[in-house]
Symmetry: C2
Subunit: 191 residues, 2 copies
């Protein structure tokens, strides 16, 4: 991707994060990178492409993450911690893109929307495997896995609402906090 194309993507994602996909016009993006709207089409093929490339690039990263985790680790608790860490690393390294990915995917055209939903389901199934393994090991509570996986992912994804890349917490530390909360809950068990 050329520097100019990268600039267009980053600018577009930043605008879409604050105004939404539908309210971000090609003219908005163009003026933010100091060109005319028509000129954008020398770098990208359509507005939807900005969204689709962003969504599927992140989907690739998330899928790669869960596959590696399920390959490398064997213990359910460790698997879950590492899956949470992989997810958190991707989110925090791509804050604007993640925001668009999580909030604007509905604007994909029908074909791409179907593919997107299917790949999201696959990703959730990767977590469900870990939960089932942990239940079999007696390490996790018996739960409705679908409920818990949505709960866990919602918790992880909320990171983009409060995470400051220049703050005091590294992505790894964020992942640690998230894992601790998900595994142990809010109650103080030392009393």
């Amino acid at each position: 991707m050329s520097p100019r194309k990268l600039e267009i993507f980053q600018t577009a994602l930043s605008l879409m994060k604050s105004k939404g996909y539908a309210n971000t016009t090609m003219r908005d993006i163009a003026s933010a990178v100091n060109m005319e709207a028509a000129s954008l089409y020398n770098h990208i093929t359509s507005k939807e492409d900005l969204l689709a490339i962003t969504c599927f690039d992140l989907a690739n990263q998330f899928e790669k993450g869960i596959l590696e985790v399920n390959d490398i680790y064997f213990d359910a608790k460790e698997k879950l911690r590492m899956a949470i860490e992989a997810h958190t690393q991707i989110l925090t390294a791509n804050l604007d893109a993640s925001y668009v990915f999580l909030h604007e995917w509905r604007h994909l055209s029908a074909d791409k929307l179907n593919e997107f939903k299917q790949r999201r389901d696959n990703y959730e199934n990767g977590f469900i495997e870990i939960l089932k393994l942990g239940e079999n090991e007696g390490v996790f509570n018996e739960v409705d896995e679908k409920f818990v996986v949505i709960t866990i992912l919602s918790t992880l994804n909320a990171t983009i609402e409060w995470y400051k890349p220049n703050g005091s917490l590294s992505p790894k530390q964020v992942a640690q906090k998230l894992s601790d909360f998900i595994l142990n809950g809010l109650l103080n068990t030392k009393n």
Copy 2:
């Protein structure tokens, strides 16, 4: 609100849930209620009004809930459980409206957007009070309250992604599951 106006609101919210606010046109709404777009304006004043009324009606309900809970209960753990239950009751009783409230509030005009954000912050502060009380009592872990309140609310709000109003779980049972998960986490502590 007249029956016809109610029908327009419910239809509009259902459309906005599946297509988003920006992609739902007045013509879409009109044809779904078998009238012309121009006729809608005999019942509502603008498209944004549909959004604004929905958002602020729910905001009122949420605020009323947390105020009552903080009034009636004294024990932090019970307060948290009851705040979770109030939140869950409102979500499950207004699934389409909640979806629009949670995903489309960004499309409010500047003035209303500011008011909305401020009231959301107030609501979060209601939960933060409970968390601080619980920490002082030694019942809750010492946490970063801002992190935890966003995590908790994300967990609660995810309910609208999987809850089926005609399924086997009552809103109260859902609230129980959510509270258990948030308080105790995923780990099986009986082993």
